[in-house]
């Protein structure tokens, strides 16, 4: 029986038509996935019929036979409260920080007018989404929970009032690989056990493949291709769909041969990073506990771990961009000075690229000034003309047109902004790049392009790379060796293919399983 049916849906904002001609149907217990890059209109498509976006819907969207496009706000609110559950991308911001988990669940459960559930019922809801010690957790506030637990609470809240349709807008994008796996498994379980219909939105075709019955591929507000999952994955007819399928790296997808490795250039010995405990409590928290690693000339080393394992902290400590309690970084036999004492010549060696491309660029600066910043400080002898030439060359090397120099970060897309950040890292000709999850905030297609760019730069410039990531498949594409970090300790190192084929430590095994999907 069809639960939710959309026919010829069009959406416009301020008179501009953004979505045209979207049609699909979901039956109870079925999962339909909307897939496309950012800006393709997939979120707008699933939220607008329910009155949750500024867009105006035309065409037809029927839930249990009732037309939503013509309904007024009051009616829509009733329908949302009774029949629909929503899960959003950011588990951190989707929960109200000042209410306990129990209070939020009770609110969610009684939104359609049913009486407030008892404490036992609330605890049962939490148990159903796999949260241990449910009774205790009811009194906890959102900040006490981890990202994965928060997303579980969101799922519990979204399903507390017994909805018939669950709308999940990028539910796992903000989570690391092994959590993604668990959260998707939980959504599947809810679907099977309670006969929920699920409308799943994602930019990553590969991640929904195992869970959706039907896939709709969207681009620029139009449906490019739609059909049963096997048909779309097995025999895609459109070039865009093929590109999406090819973009996501797999653990066994082919890769170009990696460049040869020279002698050791960097050794990090027994790095420890500690933070003082919050508030007035004594003692310290250890984020990185005695990590030792080395990188050769032209070699790429991946530091892989789950979120919170201390991998970013370790990377920053090595590059002298973060705190460090003790340990040494030795560059070609000489020790790097402490963070405060780094001279220009030392800073030039290692340059970083960060996860969030827009936050990496000062919003008030022009692209040319952003790229020229390292030149001004690290090569102060350059004349203006030489500096401009190097900026132009850096733009060219990241495949951006020269007229980008005068633009501001606001006008750049995520992929373009990341290219600018890479140009800034390259302009002073470093010998090593520190990539801190440099592709994980980007769309699959864009991430694949950026990854290809790194691979090219790695070959052409003999760059060493320290690549921090939670994604083993990505690490394998770029890196000769992998070091797995767990709770601040390196638990396993080895050549990437070997680690992936025969993972020894439980954490590595979990990461490999997650990457296999």
């Amino acid at each position: 029986m069809t639960l939710y049916s959309v026919q010829g849906l069009g959406i416009s904002i301020g008179g501009t038509a953004l979505i045209t001609g979207v049609s699909f149907e979901i039956a109870a217990g079925q999962c339909v996935a909307l897939v496309g890059e950012s800006g393709s209109g997939k979120s707008l498509t699933c939220l607008t019929p329910f009155g949750l976006s500024p867009g105006i819907a035309s065409g037809s969207a029927r839930l249990l036979g009732e037309e939503l496009c013509a309904a007024d706000e009051r009616r829509l609110r009733k329908i949302r409260a009774r029949d629909i559950g929503f899960i959003f991308q950011q588990p951190l911001t989707s929960l109200t920080p000042h209410l306990s988990i129990g209070a939020q669940l009770a609110e969610a459960a009684s939104q359609s007018g049913t009486p407030k559930p008892s404490r036992r019922e609330l605890a049962a809801m939490l148990e159903r989404v796999g949260i241990a010690q449910a009774d205790e957790r009811l009194d906890a506030f959102p900040h006490r929970l981890s990202g994965g637990q928060r997303q579980r609470v969101m799922i519990a809240a979204a399903t507390a009032h017994g909805p018939k349709l669950l709308i999940a807008d990028e539910p796992t994008t903000a989570l690391d690989a092994s959590l993604r796996h668990e959260i998707m498994a939980l959504i599947d379980e809810m679907r099977v056990q309670h006969g929920l219909a699920v409308l799943l939105v994602s930019h990553d075709l590969a991640s929904v493949a195992a869970h959706a019955d039907h896939i709709i591929v969207m681009q620029n507000g139009r449906v490019v291709e739609s059909g049963p999952t096997e048909a779309i994955l097995g025999a895609p007819t459109q070039a865009y769909t093929k590109a999406l399928i090819a973009a996501a790296p797999h653990l066994d997808s082919p890769r170009a041969p990696l460049p040869e490795v020279g002698g050791t250039i960097l050794e990090a010995k027994d790095i420890r990073v500690t933070y003082p405990r919050a508030g007035w409590r004594r003692g310290v928290l250890t984020a990185v506990d005695g990590a030792t690693l080395s990188i050769g000339g032209g070699e790429a080393l991946a530091i892989v771990g789950e979120s919170g394992s201390g991998k970013s902290t370790l990377g920053r400590a090595i590059a002298r961009l973060g705190p460090m309690a003790s340990g040494q970084t030795i560059w070609r036999g000489a020790e790097l000075p402490t963070r405060a004492k780094m001279r220009s010549a030392d800073r030039r060696l290692i340059q970083p690229v960060f996860q969030d491309p827009l936050a990496s660029l000062d919003p008030l600066w022009r692209v040319a000034d952003i790229i020229a910043e390292p030149l001004r400080h690290l090569m102060p002898d350059l004349s203006r003309g030489e500096r401009d030439m190097r900026v132009a060359a850096a733009l060219e090397s990241v495949e951006l047109p020269a007229d980008f120099a005068s633009r501001t970060p606001r006008s750049l897309s995520g992929g373009q902004a990341q290219r600018v950040a890479i140009a800034r890292a390259l302009v002073a000709e470093p010998e090593m790049l520190l990539l801190d999850e440099a592709t994980s905030a980007l769309d699959v297609l864009v991430a694949a392009q950026i990854l290809a760019l790194f691979a090219r730069l790695q070959r052409e410039r003999r760059l060493s790379i320290l690549c921090i990531t939670h994604d083993l498949a990505l690490a394998r594409q770029l890196c000769h060796r992998v070091a797995v970090l767990d709770a601040g300790k390196i638990v396993e190192t080895g050549p990437s293919d070997e680690v992936i084929r025969t993972p020894q430590h439980p954490v590595t095994q979990r990461l490999v399983r997650a990457s296999r999907g």
Partner: protein, 260 residues
């Protein structure tokens, strides 16, 4: 945000440009017209209890009040931004110490401090500036510190460090420009607060000296006679309320744009 700023602009322009054009100076006494009703003779808005032209006095009073407010707000901007930016950037123990000082100053009844200053050092407009500015910077310091703490975590600041930029260049090139929007918004919100403080001090007789006047003094004098000459209270009162409302509205809009 446009309308409130236009209204403030009109009031400021009138206070600066109109007084020389009027037939009566703000301190000239017209012995023939004491407590004259509005529209009597050449007194467009009447006169006060000793026969001085109310329109001239209101405009000059507005000028003084706004002048004090602007100067005090600028003092608070300079101290507040410097204090907050240093505390936020250096962090750690220094931050703790600097912000505890702010907390301690917050705890003082600041009106009492200003009055004490007046009593000890005598009344002068300069002291009014300094006194008010010295207590109004606390909020600014907290706001700026919060912004700097947030910005410090942003990758572009770390990228600047990796680019070899010294702390001073990061401060002037990245931090302060990005704080400026919020700081200016709070500056606009500080002005009406300072207007209130100045008016209150003048109302108590501790602010501006006769025959110079301010909105606060005029409201006090108007309030004394409000049963016989209500217009002497309504005009300065109306201008003060308009200024406060418009500046607060504009400041809040601006704050929401930058901090929201």
């Amino acid at each position: 945000m446009k309308a409130p700023l236009i209204i403030v602009g009109v009031i400021v322009a009138a206070a600066l440009l109109v007084p020389p054009l009027l037939p009566w100076g703000y301190d000239v006494i017209d012995w023939n017209a004491v407590r004259a009703e509005p529209l009597t003779g050449t007194h467009l808005l009447g006169t006060d209890n000793v026969g001085r032209d109310l329109l001239a006095r209101t405009l000059v009073g507005t000028r003084v009040t706004l002048g004090v407010a602007l100067a005090a707000a600028l003092v608070s901007l300079v101290i507040g931004v410097a204090w907050g930016a240093i505390a936020g950037w250096v962090g750690g123990k220094t931050d703790e110490l600097m912000m505890r000082i702010v907390d301690a100053l917050y705890a003082l009844p600041f009106m009492f401090v200003v009055i004490l200053l007046m009593v000890v050092f005598g009344r002068s407009i300069l002291l009014v500036f300094i006194g008010i500015g010295a207590v109004e910077w606390l909020t600014m310091a907290r706001v700026v510190r919060g912004q700097v703490l947030q910005l410090k975590q942003r990758p572009f600041i770390i990228a600047a460090e990796a680019a070899g930029a010294p702390a001073r260049a990061i401060m002037t090139g990245h931090l302060l420009p990005n704080v400026a929007g919020v700081a200016i918004a709070y500056l606009l919100l500080t002005v009406p607060q300072v207007v209130m403080v100045e008016s209150f001090l003048s109302f108590l007789g501790l602010g501006v000296q006769e025959p110079l006047t301010s909105l606060g003094i005029m409201i006090k004098e108007g309030a004394d006679d409000m049963d016989i000459a209500p217009f002497a209270l309504l005009l300065p009162g109306g201008i003060l309320v308009t200024l406060l409302v418009c500046l607060t509205l504009a400041g809040e809009k601006l704050r929401d744009r930058f901090a929201g």
